[in-house]
């Protein structure tokens, strides 16, 4: 949890419950600790077999999804911290085997300048430099952009409208001028401008305020009532479904 707080968006921590307490109990645990809505994700599904005996143990993935290290969390604490720091620093770096003509494209993409990144690759193609690698890079950058849009859609679908909106605004800014995603941006802009989504955003803002107050002041029976009222006030929204579910986690 400390690392999740320290690195914020630069690191994703996934806590995997290994004692088969079940999804609901896992949720209750995070709720009681005030970690609901926090930076770390929780799951009772094991994304892989780490091959370790006993808990706590860990698997650390690098920026590209490769396993960098695995072991026992307490014993490897400083090793893990060093590896995370290296990965965070290396974000946006071109792979070691990337042609020199394309290195700038990786840097521009990491800075959130998607069109500039594509222009660098297109220029390489025009010049006849590293043509295959440049084409592959354009394809992979386009895929990354599409995945980000899909994530925004899923965030909306999960009732996380405030986060979805913030991510969409950042994406639009970064992808200005990129033809490959222009249609998808136009469609999502319509979605965000709709009354339905505006209501979702209002509901989510209210929910976040309610949760903040609950975690700051302590969770009690009033919290459940507030969540139930929010679900009524914003009935029909995805956020109301979340609020209704959260109300069931309050154990008096």
């Amino acid at each position: 949890m400390e690392l999740a707080k320290e690195y914020g968006d630069d690191l994703q921590v996934i806590l995997v419950e290994c004692q088969n307490t079940g999804d609901l109990e896992t949720e209750r645990f995070t709720w009681d600790k005030g970690w609901m809505g926090g930076p770390a994700m929780w799951s009772s599904e094991r994304p892989m077999n780490a091959g370790m005996d006993g808990i706590p143990h860990y698997v650390l993935l690098g920026n590209d999804g490769t396993v960098l290290s695995k072991g026992y969390s307490v014993a490897d604490k400083s090793k893990v911290e060093d590896l995370i720091a290296e990965q965070v620093k290396a974000r946006g770096d071109a792979p070691d085997d990337a042609p020199k003509s394309l290195k700038k494209a990786y840097a521009e993409f990491a800075k959130g300048k998607y069109q500039k990144a594509i222009e660098v690759a297109e220029k390489a193609i025009e010049k006849g430099d590293d043509v295959d690698a440049a084409r592959q890079l354009i394809d992979s950058l386009t895929l990354k952009m599409e995945r980000r849009l899909q994530l925004i859609e899923r965030q909306l679908g999960a009732g996380e409208a405030v986060l979805a909106k913030a991510n969409f605004e950042a994406f639009v800014d970064a992808a200005r001028g990129v033809d490959a995603v222009a249609d998808q941006i136009a469609t999502l802009t319509e979605t965000f401008d709709s009354e339905e989504t505006k209501r979702e955003i209002e509901a989510d803002e209210t929910l976040q305020r309610t949760l903040k107050k609950a975690f700051d002041d302590g969770i009690d029976s009033k919290t459940a009532k507030k969540l139930e009222k929010l679900a009524e006030d914003y009935a029909g929204t995805k956020c109301a479904e979340r609020a209704k579910h959260l109300a069931t986690l309050v154990v008096e």
């Binding site: 921590v13 949720e27 929780w42 077999n49 370790m52 995370i84 974000r91």
Partner: protein
């Protein structure tokens, strides 16, 4: 008595052989499971708590991911 002794030695040899094979097969600690250098991929069946739309490890590419296995009891 000799045949019995021979049988006993033979049985012992089989037992030692079986144990050797068995211990070679049984993974110990870090020998089993996903290895360093492998690319991890997983699609969650149910959205994790605080998932914020993330449904797979692939969604998290571009940043380091620390998967911590522990318990709540």
């Amino acid at each position: 008595m000799k045949p019995i002794h021979t049988l006993g030695v033979a049985a012992g040899a089989v037992l030692v052989g079986a144990l050797t094979l068995s211990s070679a097969r049984v993974p110990s600690g870090n020998q089993d499971g996903i290895q360093v250098g492998a690319v991890a991929s997983y699609q969650f069946r149910a959205a994790p708590v605080n998932a914020r739309g993330v449904s797979s490890l692939d969604d998290l590419r571009g940043k380091p991911v620390l998967i911590d296995f522990w318990g709540t009891r």
